[in-house]
């Protein structure tokens, strides 16, 4: 197992190198003139300005030189200072956010994390419960209903579902509103009396002993959480169900049954324990999946996380923000994958003992 984990860790830098290379390659579909606008805050107006920027930042140099400059930054000819460089944490300036990309990411990240965490709890609970129950009732009514539900959930366009929720629960009934907080409260949380410890509203409000803000934040989370749930529950249900069915066919189940173990014990002690090993790893990826899947949900519900910012950046062709977001979400997913793989190795005795 140790060898396996070491191998995974050795591959990690390679993958991250590939990720940066892919991101930088995507940038190459823009011409040097368009890319020249990326390195300065104001869009250059005259041809001479554009040419100066192209020479200054080496945009006419070969690909690998440009890539290296992008990675480690360039030395300013006049001051001798090293400027830029993704590896140095400088992701450039976000035109749509009007501040450095890295600052926008840090500022908007907690809201998205909060949304994903709140969605994860019901997704895992419902997904596993429904999946186990469907497998135990294989081909009976519950299984058929769960299956049709999963297919519909899987086929439902996220943005249509989200808009339908808004139609019923906001426009018609006015029970829930889009956004993160009601107008009054959103003014209040930026006043000096309210300390933002984590920038996650549901946690900060409790730490500040403000149950009214907590309930308000929760009310705003219900619609986006429900939207995120539809697809993810369907996915987890499918995986749990097939993992359960797979285990139910194994010889050890027959053995357990032959030695007269009660059916309930077979299910709880043998089948479910083994079936949940792959499910746990998928559940681990759910968080990363939710973080990546928030682009549309956040946009529709006008929720101030990194997803809605990325969508806005893509529409206005704010390239540096897009690249920053891409790099960020890729690193997140690679890290989640690594953790999940290691968890799998630790949990599964077949891998652990090999």
């Amino acid at each position: 197992m140790t060898a396996y984990i070491i191998r995974r860790l050795l591959i990690l830098p390679l993958i991250l190198f590939g990720v940066t290379l892919l991101i930088f390659s995507m940038l190459q579909v823009l011409g040097p003139v368009e890319r020249s606008a990326l390195y300065v805050r104001d869009i250059p107006k005259t041809d001479r300005q554009v040419d100066a920027i192209i020479v200054r930042y080496g945009l006419d140099k070969p690909f690998y030189v440009q890539y290296w400059n992008w990675l480690v930054g360039t030395v300013d000819g006049n001051t001798g200072e090293r400027v830029g460089g993704v590896l140095r944490g400088d992701l450039g300036y976000s035109r749509s956010g009007r501040e450095p990309v890295i600052d926008v990411l840090i500022r908007r990240m907690p809201a998205t994390l909060e949304l994903a965490l709140w969605a994860m709890v019901p997704v895992i609970a419902f997904g596993i419960w429904l999946g186990v129950k469907a497998a135990l009732n294989h081909n009976k009514l519950f299984d058929q209903v769960a299956r049709v539900f999963a297919i519909i959930g899987w086929s439902f366009p996220t943005f249509v579902f989200a808009l339908l929720l808004l139609l019923v629960f906001y426009a018609r009934l006015d029970w829930f509103q889009p956004g993160q907080l009601s107008t009054g409260f959103s003014q209040e949380v930026i006043k000096p009396g309210f300390t933002q410890y984590t920038r996650m509203m549901t946690i900060d409000s409790l730490l500040n002993l403000r149950p009214d803000i907590f309930l308000d934040a929760l009310r705003h989370l219900i619609m986006p959480v429900t939207t995120l749930m539809v697809v993810e529950v369907a996915l987890l249900l499918k995986i749990t169900r097939s993992a359960m069915l797979e285990e139910m066919r194994q010889d050890y189940v027959t053995t357990a049954r032959a030695k007269g173990l009660p059916e309930k014990m077979i299910t709880n002690r043998h089948i479910r324990r083994n079936a949940l090993i792959p499910v746990i790893t998928v559940a681990g990826l759910t968080l990363a999946g939710l973080m990546g899947g928030v682009v549309i949900t956040e946009t529709v519900f006008d929720y101030p996380g990194i997803g809605s910012w990325a969508a806005a950046a893509a529409v206005s062709l704010d390239v540096l923000s897009m690249l920053g977001y891409a790099l960020f979400s890729a690193v997140l997913l690679v890290a989640a994958n690594l953790i999940v793989d290691i968890m799998y190795a630790v949990l599964d005795p077949r891998v652990r003992l090999s």
Partner: protein, 351 residues
């Protein structure tokens, strides 16, 4: 009827005793594997529903010029005609004044809604784009995106997966690391960003989103085919063929790929639906397509400026939304049934 020149071929029977029986006509025509597939598909109510749904959309796409005629001969057909420029959407069945279709087809006059003048059958969006026109012609966009993206991703994935799986070693190692790099991006994030970057190059058209979905969509096929080929490669009949001196290319084309192909078929079907949802999501966010292009995702996006009064303007979401849902559902139902039929672990058991 069996003649002398038509030898009786026996197959294992359906019963558990393993009795042999004569091949059915279907099995003779297409082979036992495909026969089982076809029989499974047409006897399962869910997949039949799926086939009917996809067929209906195919009809919608095919007969678009009859169902929603363009305003004149030279009209760019994928462009939704607009009845003026007013911001406020109009409800279904309101009068169509400007840019109405050039002809009144017989179904419109005689079946439904039995009128001589065109009305907005499904209402209009803000900016007075006719929803019915977009609904009908949007089916063409959907089929275009599904077919082009699925075809290209399958081809790319099958190529990469086959080379990786068949040659193994460092070829496999490198190709799989490349796949891992692509998989590191959440699918919609990668597609969103690439489509946005491609827009200046292609101009506003269907291509930015299509190309972006292809570039981030092939990895699933590659991984799956590689796994299937690795498994098939070790089968006795492949080893036997290799031992008898068959060449690599011959082995790959006649033994390995055809046997690893069936799981890919399931993925293709499921992908046909998924592609359209991703494509619509991108155009909903405003990436790629020009304004007023007949696409379901884009019609829904017009609802974004009417969040407060969505219950009044429900028709902007409901009609194209239902089209998207049913189109995706159709393909997913077929794919789901295919998977059940082809899953070797479930084979022999009554599914």
């Amino acid at each position: 009827m069996t003649t002398v020149s038509d030898p009786v071929v026996l197959r294992p029977g359906a019963n558990d005793a393993g009795e042999l029986r004569e091949m059915t006509r279907l099995e003779k025509a297409v082979g036992p594997e495909w026969a089982r597939l076809i029989r499974g598909i047409i006897t399962n109510p869910l997949s039949v529903t799926g086939i009917v749904l996809v067929f209906l959309f195919a009809m919608l796409a095919l007969f678009a010029p009859v169902l929603a005629p363009p305003p004149n001969e030279n009209w760019p057909r994928m462009q939704i005609p607009r009845d003026g420029f007013k911001a406020e959407p109009q409800p279904p069945m309101s009068v169509w004044n400007k840019n109405s279709p050039m002809s009144v087809p017989w179904w419109y006059r005689n079946v439904w809604p039995r009128q001589e003048q065109w009305v907005h059958l499904m209402g209009t969006t803000s900016g007075q784009y006719d929803i019915w026109y977009g609904f009908v012609w949007g089916a063409r966009t959907a089929f275009f995106a599904s077919f082009v993206v699925t075809f290209a991703t399958t081809l790319l994935g099958v190529l990469v997966g086959t080379f990786a799986g068949f040659y193994g070693g460092w070829v496999d190692e490198i190709l799989m690391r490349v796949v891992e790099v692509f998989v590191a991006f959440p699918f919609i994030t990668g597609a969103l960003i690439l489509a946005s970057l491609l827009t200046p190059m292609f101009g506003r058209s269907v291509w930015p989103a299509t190309v972006a979905l292809i570039i981030f969509g092939w990895t699933g096929y590659a991984r799956q085919l590689r796994g299937d080929i690795l498994a098939t490669k070790e089968r006795d009949y492949v080893l036997a063929a290799r031992a008898s001196g068959a060449k690599d290319s011959h082995l790959m084309l006649t033994h390995v790929i055809p046997n690893a192909m069936f799981p890919t078929l399931v993925r293709i079907s499921l992908n046909m639906g998924a592609v359209v949802l991703s494509f619509a999501a991108l155009s909903f966010l405003g990436i790629g397509l020009p304004e007023g292009f007949a696409d379901w995702g884009q019609i829904v996006s017009f609802a974004r400026s009417w969040i407060l009064t969505l219950d009044v303007y429900w028709y902007i979401i409901v009609f194209p939304g239902v089209a998207l849902l049913l189109y995706g559902l159709g393909w997913n139902l077929i794919g789901d049934a295919l998977r059940d039929i082809l899953d070797p672990k479930l084979r022999g058991k009554k599914a």
